[in-house]
Symmetry: D2
Subunit: 353 residues, 4 copies
Amino acid sequence: MFFLVENRRHFASDNNAGICPEAIAAIARWNTGHVPAYGSDSVTVKAQSIIQDIFETDCSSYFVFNGTAANSLAVGSFCDRQDAVLCHRYSHIETDECNAPGFLNPGLKVIAVEGTKGKIQPDLLNAKLAGSREIHASQPRVLSLTNTTELGTLYRPQEIGQLCELAKGRNVAVHVDGARFANAVASSRSSPAELSWKAGVDVLVFGGTKNGLAFGEAVIFFEKHASKRFLYRMKQAGQLASKLRFLAAQWLGILENGRWISYAEHANAMARRLNDLLRTIPSVEIPFPCEGNAVFAHLPEPVVTGLHRMGWRFYSDVGPGGGSRLMCSWDTTPEDVDQFGADIRRLCNDGYA
Amino acid sequence: MFFLVENRRHFASDNNAGICPEAIAAIARWNTGHVPAYGSDSVTVKAQSIIQDIFETDCSSYFVFNGTAANSLAVGSFCDRQDAVLCHRYSHIETDECNAPGFLNPGLKVIAVEGTKGKIQPDLLNAKLAGSREIHASQPRVLSLTNTTELGTLYRPQEIGQLCELAKGRNVAVHVDGARFANAVASSRSSPAELSWKAGVDVLVFGGTKNGLAFGEAVIFFEKHASKRFLYRMKQAGQLASKLRFLAAQWLGILENGRWISYAEHANAMARRLNDLLRTIPSVEIPFPCEGNAVFAHLPEPVVTGLHRMGWRFYSDVGPGGGSRLMCSWDTTPEDVDQFGADIRRLCNDGYA
Amino acid sequence: MFFLVENRRHFASDNNAGICPEAIAAIARWNTGHVPAYGSDSVTVKAQSIIQDIFETDCSSYFVFNGTAANSLAVGSFCDRQDAVLCHRYSHIETDECNAPGFLNPGLKVIAVEGTKGKIQPDLLNAKLAGSREIHASQPRVLSLTNTTELGTLYRPQEIGQLCELAKGRNVAVHVDGARFANAVASSRSSPAELSWKAGVDVLVFGGTKNGLAFGEAVIFFEKHASKRFLYRMKQAGQLASKLRFLAAQWLGILENGRWISYAEHANAMARRLNDLLRTIPSVEIPFPCEGNAVFAHLPEPVVTGLHRMGWRFYSDVGPGGGSRLMCSWDTTPEDVDQFGADIRRLCNDGYA
Amino acid sequence: MFFLVENRRHFASDNNAGICPEAIAAIARWNTGHVPAYGSDSVTVKAQSIIQDIFETDCSSYFVFNGTAANSLAVGSFCDRQDAVLCHRYSHIETDECNAPGFLNPGLKVIAVEGTKGKIQPDLLNAKLAGSREIHASQPRVLSLTNTTELGTLYRPQEIGQLCELAKGRNVAVHVDGARFANAVASSRSSPAELSWKAGVDVLVFGGTKNGLAFGEAVIFFEKHASKRFLYRMKQAGQLASKLRFLAAQWLGILENGRWISYAEHANAMARRLNDLLRTIPSVEIPFPCEGNAVFAHLPEPVVTGLHRMGWRFYSDVGPGGGSRLMCSWDTTPEDVDQFGADIRRLCNDGYA
């Protein structure tokens, strides 16, 4: 078999990137001796402690393997089997999890709410919240927001606060899918606390994978009562790592030194650089504001084809309107952006458009 | 907070050990550029190919995060919701998974079969297999064996073959929980093929974590038809890593160079060294043959207390009869064994017994 | 406690009606001696045989307790856990089952499709069918139609045929929720076969409760292979009656003598009588054609209040546009309709409108 | 097809019997006019009120379709997904429900406890209760007793009290599977209250089917807090009858007039009559005391064959030791018993033994 791993970056997804050097170094750093399994080790405790510092509150945090499980188990912690989660039509838990929320929380229903630019429209949320609570309908129990959103946009603290207020008025808890929470913090210039519990969020999935780790998302409960059985749920769902220290260690690698935020700032800056560049090309249309590490762009179909032929990888039919989604990562370089932008410009100019 | 990670090894569990250097090196080695997520990358393909070489057959393999999920999803691949898995009374899926098999395969029932030394007794299996198949009973569909067993013993190829024959005669598939499969291969001096598909095994969970990896078990289907929806099940159960190459890379790190078997041979040798040492102490009783990397020993209660006071970590009430379980790992040293053995001997001699 | 059962009929739901005399007589008729439980009795076999006669084909039928279970287990018979059911936005399994389909078929997702008058629009169905089949999305495996629909309209054989053709082109099975199948047969003047398997339907839930029985829906598989484990699923889901003969007997009571169709014709005729009557009142708007036993009407709000004050029971905020739903039953009399209509007319005339 | 329903009674099961005349009469009695569906009707309320009278307490009761669902949903009301139910090795939920408890309560594990004569042995229960509560094990949350037991024996109030005390000491709730609760009341000469909440029982499934109804079991919560979501669970599990009044009406038919207890007394008397008769036959061995409506007997194998050839129906390999189980019903007559007994005696005497 011909076997090649190319040393090149693309714009397909921030989960196509590798691991940041600090995460690898931390794995090696804490690879000493035997420690208790399943989280009863000092590396895990230290990582949990730093998360409390960063969020400026006494929260409970848990490290699980991936986002599918993190978000599913997090929302399910507030739900009984007849309950429902309200989320945006384009949210990951609605469209991209093969119904993991309903599988890992048997009986749970995911109900989609509309809104432009990937963000839930408050009055439409309110209508769903005010809907029937009788015996035949799934009962709304969690509102799930994604920040930054699947369309690369940002919920600012006051927007989160407004939605949380509507939810809380109906005894509905609030979850944030923060696969790109670091990007949201970097973009909003708000603090982690302002983007979460201070705005009313009860549980946050803080994404590590897209922030430079190999695996691992932190599930952070600000409403600690809801987490009391979370370890059991992790165990039963196959999400309790025996060598948990090596999930926690990766977090230590980026949390202690502030890398988690500087990498996100960098990815966001690369996205803005690409966004600014594309805005100068007349045949390219940008449907959503660039508020994170994603750029959405309507490229002429032959340009998409041409770019793919040149070997560039990116998704070309994403979200409402079906544009191309161009993701930047912690490791995207200005040269990557400039080369990709130049190729787009050339193909557009060459009459492909 | 006082924060200490001690650089010391214990006998509590092979999952308390760290990561072997080859696994870390492999993570770094394949950490280049962007690659497709979810297993569509050449690192994963290469690891799958090497597994085919090692097992000398055209098997399908999948890399999941941990053993709970690996075993649950593996057995469930053969089952509909009214089906049952037969396993040993002391098997992990019966006693230590918080009913993950029944949760990740809704409706599935785990049914325990008896047998001495952690191994299923053929005639008792046959009685369960011959039991009622009417509408009110869960239907046996999978026989699950653990090799090496939870009591540190070994199923040899002919023993597996005999149980497989009974199972196959009732249209029951055979699964092996190989959390310590490498130890079984090393101990039996049989080939991986002889201990699996050649004996009749349909699916094997080949454990990486206890073999020196940070995370990751390989689910290897010899009956490939049963795996056709496995990727969906991984996805839905939160077991499909986006950066899957970093699970696969760790396997490359120990498979290509034969480390998987040499580490297991080493751990087994350390267990035999400890076993031999304990056999010379009159007040210590060894209830099961040492055929893997575990030693079971009945130590006088004051000796157990004394060892724990000295800082040694190990479980002291495991299995039938409730003896101490002493596990050796890929990183256990002869000095560790000798020091631990000397401490036991001294406590026994000091009149603690 | 003051205890009153009034001897009066309403327009709230056909499940508020009592039992037809033929069903009670049949229960008494077959209440002789001891018979085997769980369906191995000759009453059940006889009812299954008559269903084959009525549907003119070699179908497999099963009697379960209610519609929630009947529809959930029927669609689930074609599905694995990563699959999805496509149904109309206003269908019962989407809006009124507290997510029973997703609970009784763990992992299953219900996906809504739009269309006017309660009927799925073919091109919108096709778009859903043609959607992504990759690993992250639930996989469409069943199309579920309701006939007559929740909005009181009818799918005619050719409409069903067209939707079935689209589904079958994508390897998607077709289910009909026939809670009011008898009304559809009566309304369409087609045969049961033409409204089901001849049009491409794989499984039909033939509703008995709204047709005059106390309990009991028949799940009729035309694609018999899909039913091979149905008895197990009934058993495990708590839907296998021990005294099954008393579900089957009720069916015998209305099938042998054609009552099932004459009662439905009667209920439909009562709905048309009410519909015709309301059409003569200027302030009443009828949004959907009356093609079954339901009339939807936009009544002035004070008229709704006035009718409720007079003791009439009906739902007043149902479906798109939120009109009143007025259901007729097997036992609705012309006098009931005329009195109800007269009250509506009087309230409208009295300036309530 | 040749079609015969024989007017004859057997000893196979009390669920092979028909419906008592009072239940049919009550269905007809309450079959008047339209009433609200799903339990919001006065017939249901009246039946619930009478149950409170009979049990002399302010309990919450619900009518579901069958025992599989009743017991599964009842135990699940106390459990989260990592929890376990402890029950006797020969209990119905362990052996005869196709794992419905684990299916209708996803994640739940049923754990068997031993004990002679179908009754849990207190010290063995205590050992299970005292077992590990760590993260890897299912957590005992419910103790389930069956009364009368599957082996025809009786728990008396003090025996229940003793087991409840052990359970309560570990924060474990107590459920009684009372498929034959009426027989237990009749046999024990205790009151319903003494056999349930006064002894510490939290939820009782009071069986109607084996007491003479067509369908329907009453789930009676004495610990009312646990029932707060029970209607949702009934709905989602397909156990909420739309025409619920016809389950409740049957209960009215036997509760108001005391028939529930007189039928049970009769069935018990018939069992004692059979028991006394069999005790006079030397080749018949009676392994368990006759304390309900069942007689267990070891009949010589040729006698079993001979009886089956004569057309008698009964199960001949039930429980430990595999004897014949001979069930009496509300409709068993002294002549049935005498004729059956005479046939047994004759076969035994004829040298079949």
